[in-house]
Symmetry: C2
């Protein structure tokens, strides 16, 4: 049996495999990027799903257009407006989570050996999605304010066939870093200078626990070179699999064509359920609730890390999002550490998979949204003890 060449590059996502290991209920897992299920608006969804079945039952069970359910596209366009992104519903394509927006970005732009420029480290799921199109990656170093723009420009000059720059400017996964306004503007200037597309992935932008909101790249995009990927997975619920692509009309048409061949459309039912929820309830109020819980969890994790992690562990305080990124002394291999951690009933994601090219073994990503406060304290202490033992 002969598979396509792309299959040689692909391996099962390490996060997914780790998540399987950590599904035993007694494990305290900081591994996934799962939202807190106790915050899901289950009662409201009960009302909403009844309403959808009763009022829109037949159309919710029928095929519908590839672009998505228009009232939901309108809701999203309005939310984009709040972020100063000018978009009509026609600039929105509903996708099955933003993971599908990543896959489609690969499909629309990438030929074998084309270059994707990304932050170092970058989101594992995006790396895997793009890899399926046999691209190569160039990682650009970052400091606390985002990509170092001189490095970015050098990387562009050193490489032919750069197709797009992939970034997560707000509470980056996995590093937790947020780009400064200056860097955002600088990135747009460089993209314009070299006529490159930017894929802006923004799953956590609305989950800010401190500091000032910064404008999305797409809100400053005056010539249609930014593709914005959004999702309701972190602000509402991932189980419905609803995300979106926002892009200028002509470019969005390419994504729509790709969606037709890939899965025709996202669930008619889920789209209507979410749309009616947005009609009847305030997502902003719901997000406020999420923020207040996650902020506490973040603070508690940081406080406990301060107490129990060895001084050699370095990390920045993320102003939002779901993750704390830890850099350890080079003597520590976090893949090996993970085996010991699972024995101690605590889990994290070893950082290596977030670097598409380099072989970095001394980092880990910790998620603080999914575990309750008690488990955060117990789990971080266990991890601290393990780290102390290693040093």
């Amino acid at each position: 049996m002969k598979f396509s060449k792309r299959m040689e590059n692909m391996k099962a996502s390490e996060i997914r495999e780790i998540l399987k290991l950590t599904q035993q209920p007694e494990i305290i897992s900081f591994a996934g990027g799962l939202p807190a299920p106790e915050l899901f608006p289950v009662e409201h969804m009960e009302i909403v799903s009844q309403k959808v079945i009763q009022n829109l039952g037949r159309e919710a069970l029928q095929y519908s257009t590839t672009e998505g359910y228009n009232p939901l596209r309108e809701h999203i366009a309005k939310r984009m407006g709040k972020m100063n992104i000018k978009a009509s519903f026609e600039d929105i394509l509903i996708t099955s989570g933003s993971q599908q927006g990543l896959d489609f970005s690969g499909k629309v732009f990438l030929d074998p050996d084309d270059i994707v420029i990304c932050e170092s480290p970058s989101y594992l799921g995006a790396i895997n999605a793009f890899k399926a199109y046999e691209c190569q990656f160039r990682e650009v170093a970052t400091d606390k304010d985002g990509m170092i723009l001189e490095d970015l420009e050098k990387t562009i000059n050193d490489n032919e066939n750069v197709k797009f720059i992939y970034v997560i400017p707000d509470f980056q996964n996995p590093s937790g870093k947020t780009w400064s306004l200056e860097r955002r503007k600088g990135l747009l200037e460089i993209a314009k200078k070299y006529d490159l597309v930017i894929v802006e992935d923004n799953p956590y932008g609305e989950l800010r626990y401190e500091g000032q909101h910064l404008p999305a790249l797409k809100s400053m995009d005056d010539d249609g070179r930014v593709v914005f990927l959004g999702t309701f997975s972190k602000t509402f619920a991932p189980g419905l699999r609803i995300g979106w692509v926002c892009a200028d009309h002509e470019l969005l048409n390419k994504y729509i064509m790709v969606k037709q061949g890939s899965d025709l459309q996202t669930s008619s039912m889920s789209q209507r359920e979410l749309s009616v929820y947005l009609d009847d309830y305030s997502l902003d109020d719901h997000i406020d609730k999420i923020i207040s819980v996650y902020k506490k969890r973040r603070n508690l994790m940081l406080d406990t890390m301060k107490e129990s992690f060895p001084q050699e562990a370095k990390y920045i305080i993320p102003e939002g999002g779901l993750f704390i990124w830890v850099e350890l002394p080079e003597t520590i291999d976090t893949k090996e550490l993970m085996v010991k951690a699972v024995e101690e009933k605590v889990a994290f994601v070893p950082g290596g998979s977030f670097f598409p090219n380099s072989d970095t073994r001394n980092t880990m990503r910790l998620n603080f949204s999914n575990m309750n406060e008690e488990n955060i304290v117990i789990g971080i202490k266990r991890l601290g003890q393990l780290l102390q033992n290693e040093l």
Copy 2:
């Protein structure tokens, strides 16, 4: 802005564009492949969706495994068993409709210029899905019993890089043809002789209105070379977007990896809703209802065609499925006819798009599942009049 090479081959699906045209309620449309919405089990789904939210609410809103919800995989494995296909739940991957199974088949197997062998004509959605991987197509002629096996073998011998043979053995879309047992066995022998994969697409197999059920290729597959694609879109409801891939474990793992990068997983909610429906109700009873309605509609369409179509219009009687395929004299261009038909408030799909290579203009596909009996009679008479005028 530079797109990938694959985008040069891709154009918006003609069916989808036509469906948009025909969304005006006054048009009698035989164009889509839509099931009859009045048959959707809306009342049962109301009960089921309440039950899922109340009993499984948090997990239905949370991320879950890429492979799919295990109880649903078990249900599907059991249904496969009824078709004499030996499968455990581990041989089933839940996809977002069988369209996604088609896309993944392209992703797993196809490099640029690889060859896909298909029936002539073949399913437009499959052609579009595979085209995204820059393959080429070789069409094999069919008679009333399926592919002509001598032509198939010659096509294999004439071409390098044949990756798989794509077939719809039951009530083929668009031709309505069903492969004989002998041809099925012959296809499997040829696939074995040349060590080729078969992608068996079976969206309508359970919708048989007359004649004997014939064994699926997968049920006779003794060395794991058949990938079976199934869906609940035609037997339950397409709006949930639930299909599946059934393949041997090692091969299925490739599809699972591809699914991870493409959209992580299919809706946790939809999977649980369907699974609880299958726990609590009889899908077989529901399918019996669908069959009795569609059979009447098919018969009525055939009777009306007999009365009002010109004798030069040729078609076979499909034993199941959703479509009647019509071959017209070569003087008729159905794309041009379609414009006149829409003026007369009736629609169909011009057959040209079902031929990946050849430029066949004198065919059309008629769907009989979506329109009620009154509209079938009115619409077919209008179409008959148009055809009479053309000849």
